[in-house]
Subunit: 528 residues, 2 copies
């Protein structure tokens, strides 16, 4: 690192102009971007990350800390003048107090959330983009940045077997955003403005959006942000018998009722791989219902979209030719680090109509005059954009679609193996059919409620979850409470997760279950 | 890099299940996250970036390319199976075809946009965050991630001399978002929901937002996204005599007229450092006008907010104690790489009321029970979030507030020096008073229009801009068209820009001006 700069100002004078300095006190400009420092400090960072990956199994997935633990360790303000070799000290603090206070999303025992799957190439692609640090908000502001984005969204769309109509190659087009929330919001706003243009700009209060009670809260949040009334968000009830998928018949009924009440159906968010149970809504049939009311259909495939790289999963989006927009998070299960949500739209002009800039901008660009260039700032909420295309391009190029298939299939296979482990222990059951790499399971209650209620079983599984998550080396586990049933949920997808991790983690669950059941029995025995 | 994985599947069978493999063909799982590969490939990336910084002056700031240039060079789909050592080849492509096709935001001759100022520590902070790749959307999902964010937004707020009421330490609080657009959208939505709760949820069509004709288009875009009618966005006219600042009197008149028309004033976006001329709206007086109508005041200090680290600039936010929210882009001029917009709010509960999740989430967390933890997903649009706090913390810690002041002051001093250069050439004028490090200047017309119109001068400067930007080694320059005057605009702020770059760039402008004026004279002479 450059030697710490000197403080050459002791403040400014009263009228806000910079204090004049004697010649020997010339402004010491901090040397903060320099190739040699970058080489030296960059290697320190690479070593730190490599060590982290090498030792990640040693960390408990979730740290045993209480709120405020880190704030108490840090000063209440930034230093005025950095300590000598501040960068090395700061990296030591990363090792000593920050890493031990994190929930480790790259741990092979992190099963609680859909993954944030890292890869060497994905993480380094982000590092490279941060180093180059361009802002591809218009074509002119970074031509190669914009064009690489256009190329890779088409590459990704083809690799995922999306309909051609969503790709640039087929008249649609895609972009890379931060999150699914952003993608859904952009789609809702595009749909809303298109609809209001048709019916009257004042009727925003009549618009209705549709989803199921399993849809990610991003839909309702987006609709609310876009000014749709909260009581015009229809979260249609699903049921276990139908695998918690949205029923086209129920959707039809809801839309019909709204139309009869003088309201205007606007938007449907269908999900491929819901958060709680990875349920799959029937895209084709839902689109048919939506079409009758000229409703925009968005498909949220945040997690399961990555699985579409395998042709054996293509059927889950049958009928997608009819959708208006589609999004998936390449940062979840496709080895691209946070954040990288790909969104495709069939008619980019609707997106642009809602989100484009009206003002004259401060740049003109002769090279793009007369060309139909893509200015990505008109495709999303943000002006400043990172060069996300770089990491996605590197992942696709360096692992190849075959490599990504193997990656997905290996997790699916581990999930299959885990499902068999659960089925082999009669005390447990797999509650919903395994989809992709998500397994939802629970401990059966040894004493079923006579009323048919699930109360006892639910309490049992709540206790089991708590005890499993309290085991320091244990698997980090989440729950889903669906259709009245409380179940545990393991999403297999962390890049480093292998079958042995799942087998070990399952032993932890079995042991905790045995302890709980044994305690229950002894209590019952003492009562009897 | 790990040896390219083998393709062990030749597809899937018809009913969508994975093909069974013979024992010797066991699934070959790609080895995509491994400490040794990360060390080796990471060092390649560090070398590439260091070389880029070392040689950045050799690139033209803006590449001489036409739309489609890169798309034509790349295949139309991702490879199935990667070539041998694909990572090294890909990095070679970055050097050969991607870097030469970028607009170089780190070039010392990039004056066109407000900077995207890189630093060694800022870029490596992003690399580190990408390697660790956690998702701090709730406290539990990454305790140290959430707490470091809370700590650094307070550090930054104090360093920028913000009122205590906006900091966690003073009952407010901050967060790190991607962009100002996102910050304004969150603020508008919070203000909107608070107001509709008071007046009636159906009156969204009556709400009005206010800004000046100099306000960044992010305000109107955010308001439109939030469902505010386009014709209820008041862009109040400013004038040169008032330095293009928003007049409190005009704001008062606009609000009064709206109230009299039965409309409801909602939101004011005041700017400190407008995009076109770095104008500063008078915060304190505007807040007083807004208060009379219970209007939410947001301050957008995207660019100039960084300058607040210098006490001599504190006066530009006099009266900020009264604002409801404030945002600035640390990625613009404060050495933190894209993206890092800090937003503070006085009453976090209003933000949370508008943006919080209603659904039961899939995790419970015992450690945070009974504590008032911050779950940052409720403070913004997105669920997935990067660990942005890390890079900001590193920048503050390793450069110190004194270092950041020196950095800002050195650019301000260069801008002052440039202003003097312009003033020393009688053919030119500085059009608006220099603010911070932005200089707006133009070539005077040798033949002023008799009507007092600026037509000839504007045409002259349009031509000058075009010719300057056509010089391969020239400074990348933008324009502003304000109050009928077309001017050139240089924002000094790229980390590597030194006075010598500006002096050289100024020679280019002078030479192009001489050539244009000379040609004009000879045409006039031949006409006479």
């Amino acid at each position: 690192m450059a030697p710490p700069h000197h403080t050459v100002y002791d403040g400014a004078n009263q009228n806000g102009t910079v204090v004049e300095l004697a010649a020997q006190e010339k402004l010491q400009r901090p040397d903060v971007l320099n190739a040699d420092d970058f080489r030296r400090q960059g290697k320190q960072v690479i070593e730190l990350i490599a060590d982290y990956y090498g030792g990640i199994s040693d960390y408990p997935v979730h740290p045993n800390v209480t709120p405020g633990f880190l704030r108490k360790l840090l000063p209440t303000e930034a230093p005025a003048c950095p300590e000598p070799d501040a960068f090395t000290s700061a990296l030591q603090d990363v090792r000593d107090i920050i890493l031990p206070g994190l929930t480790h999303w790259q741990s092979p025992r992190h099963m609680a959330h859909f993954p944030a799957s890292s890869s060497t190439v994905g993480a380094l692609g982000e590092a490279l983009a941060a180093g180059i640090n361009v802002n591809p908000f218009t074509w002119a502001a970074s031509p190669a940045g914009t064009e690489l984005e256009m190329v890779v969204v088409d590459w990704l769309g083809k690799a995922l077997h999306l309909p051609n109509s969503l790709l640039f190659a087929g008249g649609g087009g895609g972009t890379l955003l931060a999150t699914t929330g952003e993608a859904i919001l952009c789609a809702v706003v595009a749909a809303r403005d298109q609809k209001l243009e048709q019916i009257s700009v004042g009727r925003i209060g009549d618009l209705v959006v549709y989803c199921s009670d399993q849809t990610h809260f991003a839909l309702v949040k987006s609709a609310r942000i876009a000014g749709i009334r909260r009581d015009h968000c229809r979260e249609i009830r699903t049921c276990r018998a139908n695998m918690f998928a949205l029923s086209p018949m129920d959707l039809h009924a809801a839309m019909k009722a709204d139309v009869e009440a003088g309201l205007v159906p606007l938007f449907l968010c269908a999900t491929v791989g819901t958060t709680k149970t990875a349920a799959v809504d029937p895209i084709g049939e839902l689109c048919a219902v939506a079409a009758a009311h000229d409703v925009w259909v968005h498909v949220d495939a945040a997690y399961a979209g990555s699985a579409l790289v395998c042709p054996e999963f293509r059927h889950v989006i049958d009928g997608a030719e009819a959708v208006d927009s589609f999004s998936m998070n390449a940062h979840k299960w496709l080895l691209v680090s946070n954040d990288c949500c790909a969104m495709w739209v069939k008619k980019p002009r609707t997106l642009i109509a809602a989100l484009a800039v009206e003002q004259e901008v401060i740049m003109t660009d002769r090279a793009s005059e007369g060309h139909d260039v893509v200015d990505y700032m008109d495709w999303n909420i943000n002006l400043t954009r990172r060069f996300r295309a770089l990491k996605l391009w590197l992942v696709l190029r360096c692992y190849g679609t075959d490599g990504l298939r193997d990656h997905i299939r290996s997790h699916v296979r581990i999930a299959e193996a885990f499902e068999k482990m659960v089925e082999a222990d009669a005390r447990f059951e797999v509650v919903t059919e395994r989809m992709f790499s998500l397994v939802c399971f629970r401990l059966r209650s040894p004493e079923p409620d006579q009323s048919g209620s699930e109360e006892t079983a639910n309490a049992l599984n709540r206790q089991l979850l708590e005890e499993v998550n309290a085991v320091t080396s244990g698997p980090y586990t989440s729950f889903a409470n669906v259709g009245g049933i409380y179940m545990l949920r393991w999403a297999i997808g962390s890049t480093l997760t292998e079958e042995r991790h799942v087998a070990d983690a399952w032993k932890v669950v079995q042991e905790r279950a045995s302890a709980i059941l044994c305690k229950m029995e002894s209590i019952n025995a003492s009562r009897a």
